[in-house]
Amino acid sequence: MSTLIEYLQFPFVQKALIVGVLIALCSSLLGVTLVLKRFSFIGDGLSHVAFGAMAVASVMNLTHKMILVMPVTILCAVVLLAAGNRRKLRGDSAIAMISVSAMALGYLIMNLFSKSANLTGDVCSTLFGSAQFLTLTDSDVVICIAVSVIVVILFIVFYNRIFAVTFDEAFAKTSGTRTSLYNILIAVIIATVIVLAMNLVGSLLISALVIFPALSAMRLFKSFFKVTVCSAILSVTITLIGMLVSILLGTPVGATIVVSDLVVYGAFAILGKCVSH
């Protein structure tokens, strides 16, 4: 316990925790929508795109990689969504194509041009999240806070529309709701969250951060509002615990958080069974 308190005195640990909590909050908000709209595969594809963009950004030695990664990922989200709307199958293969190509290109570019001495380490940390998370600069933290605030505000303002479009798109459209606009909004938020979360858990584990809290909450609660609130609380708590555990035990941050998510999901699944019987 005393080691923990000692660690918490360090500014870099505090920064990491603030950013971690914000990322957890943002990523959990759209979980239900993502799971139910079968968009989880888009999330997965986008994280690969973000990896590719990240590779290009690091080769270009950009100080703020987000400036490149964020717009590229958002653009891909919009393109993929448009493709997915037209033909189910073509959308699926488009996602596979774009995500695999982005991944391969990213790795290739890193291999060819990177001046880093520890290439494998760089790739690994982009894929699985990194210890670099503890070396966040002040501007990283500010960007993260700003983006999170925007995401949360957008979600609250459009909460009723997001519910309507997720629950029943046809009905929403006949009621005059501009469904394609909101679908794009959802895609943009997803892309933003993925880029943010990549710093924390790495691009391969992002989907877990987005989907697990919502799936756990859905086991226990029966209204959209309660599920959303519960998954936000779960996500923040689990991420905090996961981060603290990883700092204390020296385990990898991303993997620790995802495994904690899995444990909580198991607990909620059992609890849900007990409640319904």
């Binding site: 303002v157 009723n160 519910f163 309507a164 629950f167 046809a170 009905f171 006949t174 029966k222």
Partner: protein, 216 residues
């Protein structure tokens, strides 16, 4: 003469290379009960989607009366896969029927919440209004969706096979409910249906898709 609610003028229906119907013209008047019938793939759903503005007609025009445009059209779609595991309470689903009234407001106001409660009572589902939509029986789910449609309109309901997945008893109750909305509240009904008995029992008019399209 009662007022015309919906006027379709020389519609051509279809998609890509397939034409399902040509030169289809009809007028639906206030308080009428229309059944749209026919085999699968003959164009009933396409017609319904066209009058709802979900798909475009290849040619021709669909004109709603001003009142319907202002008050909105209540749509009861078929259930989708998404809804089968959607965590939403009955109240949340019904309230989402008011989304057309939101305008630029982000949240529902008191009037809209009261309207949702009223329609929940009207459909006789107030005892289950706190329950989760996905756990209800087929008949209860249809009532919830009907209450939602009523939040969107006071005038016209467009129903897509409302009894498709219901057992006979629930189907009968659903029919009675729709019939009373038509007779007591003078709501115009446009119903796509597979049930061959429905037109004879309830409808004032029938539009039948087949070799030829007939309006009876």
């Amino acid at each position: 003469m009662s007022d015309i609610v919906l006027k379709c003028d020389s519609l051509t229906l279809g998609y890509e290379n397939i034409t399902l119907a040509t030169d289809l013209s009809f007028e639906i008047k206030e308080g009428e009960y229309w059944c749209i019938t026919g085999e699968n793939g003959t164009g009933k759903t396409t017609l319904m989607k066209t009058i709802l503005g979900l798909t475009k007609a290849l040619s021709g025009t669909v004109t709603w009366c001003d009142e319907a445009l202002r008050d909105g059209i209540g749509y009861l779609p078929q259930q989708t896969d998404v809804q089968k595991d959607f965590p939403a309470s009955v109240r949340e689903v019904v309230l989402s029927g008011c989304q057309g009234r939101l305008g630029f407001r982000p949240f529902y106001n008191r009037t809209e919440k009261e309207m949702a409660l009223l329609n929940i009572k009207r459909m006789g589902i107030d005892d289950i209004s706190g329950r989760c939509y996905r756990e209800l029986s087929g008949g209860q789910q249809q009532r919830v969706l009907l209450a939602r449609a009523l939040c969107a309109t006071g005038k016209v309901l467009v129903l897509d096979e409302p009894i498709a997945s219901l057992d006979p008893k629930a189907a009968e109750e659903m029919y009675e409910l729709i019939d009373s909305l038509n007779k007591k509240d003078n709501i115009t009904i446009i119903m796509v249906t597979h049930d061959p008995e429905a037109p004879g029992r309830f409808a004032t008019r029938e539009l039948r898709f087949g070799e030829e399209i007939s309006i009876i």
